[in-house]
Amino acid sequence: MNIWFRQHRFALGAAFAQVRKAPGSFLFNVLVVAVALALPFAGLTLLDNVRPLSEQLSVDPEISLFVKSGASREQARALEPQLQQILAGRRTKIDFVPREQALDSLKEKSGLSDVIEALGDNPLPDSYVMKLEGFASSADANRVDGIAEQMRLLPGVESVQVDSAWVKRLAALLGVLRLVLLLLAITLGVVVIAVVFNTIRLQVLTQREEIAVSKLLGATDNFIHRPFYYTGALLGLCAGVMALGGVALSLRPLNTAIGEFARLYASDFQLATLPALGVLGLLAISAGLGLVGAMLSVQRHLARLK
């Protein structure tokens, strides 16, 4: 076993010994750091669950055009060349949806086939669904509105709907949430570093004599610093485990409530814990924050000990 490995093992042992000396104090510090970490972890878990949902939804604008109910199939079909003219030069997919197909789709998706059968005649009109690509900015959104307005003026058109607005709003909201979460994570990261900084400061003060004697006996700065680094990283890691555990536990009652709500929309949406890689990443970040706090504290306070 080489000296480097042996000294790290000794430092880790010294860090655990320090924890054993004052387990209550260590646990309290872990709890404080865990509370600070739990909030961004919970937010990240929420975003991670909502992100795939929003990605499944199309952000590209979709225009639905409904033909007047009295119009014949030929009249409805005759609109297509005019639509192509309006959309000329743009990447667009135009789908004609006959009223029969629309009715079948409604029956299938709504689960109200008996009620629809009872209506007798098909109340739905022929329609066109047009998916426009390459419209992402707010300026593009205005252009889509202009296109929809042109279509409304065509003869035989009952109404025109632009369907992307709410998806865009959701995407924008998620963007804002991401930014808020980032700012929250940075703020609470600083809190974590401050807590670890103070914890290590107190340890340095209580071990002042041991540090001084070790230096006189030939200990290098690295030998003296390492146990504090391990203590800081250990504190961060334990707090990360506690925070993730807390978030995972809180998902259970939350999912019960979400499940009831989602069933109203025929969905089985549930919040899931982060994937293993995400968990490992967050634990590494937690330990890293603890390490940074310890390093800053050690650099500042040990420099004062001769």
Binding site: M1, R6, E209, L216, L217, A219
Partner: protein, 227 residues
């Protein structure tokens, strides 16, 4: 082995601890550093261990110029020194064995080897049977013998003992001095500061300091031989 060349040390404008001190200590010598309190004995010893640096002049220890030694080099200089302090400075929350193992642990020595050598060092000072005790369970004399064991455990070339018999009764002081003389007899260079004249009886070389100035024993060296 240890050389002071016109060394002065000022802690502040009006606190001159050492004033133009020059002396040589050869390998294997046993040197006593005598003088009243405040004479500069401790400052001189601290310079050998690179705890203090000279304000002017040069301090050479094992070929290293202490004044120019980089911070990273200090621990390696100290690993060749055995330091004994007036107040022992044992770690109260560790056993005697753990205290004596510490100089080896800081160098990265394996735990088993450190324990073996610590037991051997404790055996040499007659404290092996107290290896599992805590420092506070020992008398002052016993604690000082443990401090000697800690100083010799890494087989240093030089032992520096700063007032090792202060606060000890005569019998305990004699045991401590006899232990140091025993290590000197096997070739270790020893430098012992004291203001106890009884210890100096029969000494071959005594360096006397007063008010930071060398008044006797700076030049020449009677190499080897127990005092």
């Amino acid at each position: 082995m240890i050389e002071f060349q016109s060394v002065s040390k000022k802690y502040s404008a009006d606190a001159l601890a050492l004033n133009d001190v020059s002396l040589n200590i050869a390998k294997g010598e046993l040197v006593y550093l005598a003088g009243p309190s405040g004479a500069g004995k401790s400052t001189l010893m601290k310079m050998v261990a690179a705890i203090e640096r000279p304000t002017s002049g040069r301090v050479i220890v094992n070929g290293h110029d202490v004044g120019n030694l980089k911070k990273a080099g200090v621990p390696f200089l100290r690993r060749n020194l055995g330091l004994i302090f007036q107040h022992q400075r044992l770690l109260n929350d560790r056993t005697i064995l753990a205290n004596v193992m510490l100089p080896l642990i800081v160098t990265g020595a394996p735990g088993a080897l450190a324990a073996e050598r610590a037991r051997a060092a404790l055996d040499k000072v007659g404290m092996l049977d107290r290896a599992r005790a805590l420092p506070m369970e020992l008398s002052g004399g016993e604690q000082q013998r443990v401090a000697i064991a800690r100083a010799i455990v890494n087989r240093p070339q030089i032992i520096l003992a700063d007032e090792p018999t202060a606060n000890l009764d005569r019998a305990a002081a004699d045991k401590v001095i006899n232990a140091l003389r025993a290590f000197h007899s096997v070739g270790v260079t020893c430098m012992i500061s004291t203001h106890d004249d009884q210890i100096l009886d029969g000494a071959t070389r005594v360096i006397r300091l007063e008010h930071g100035q060398l008044v006797d024993g700076g030049a020449g060296a009677a190499v080897g031989g127990a005092a």
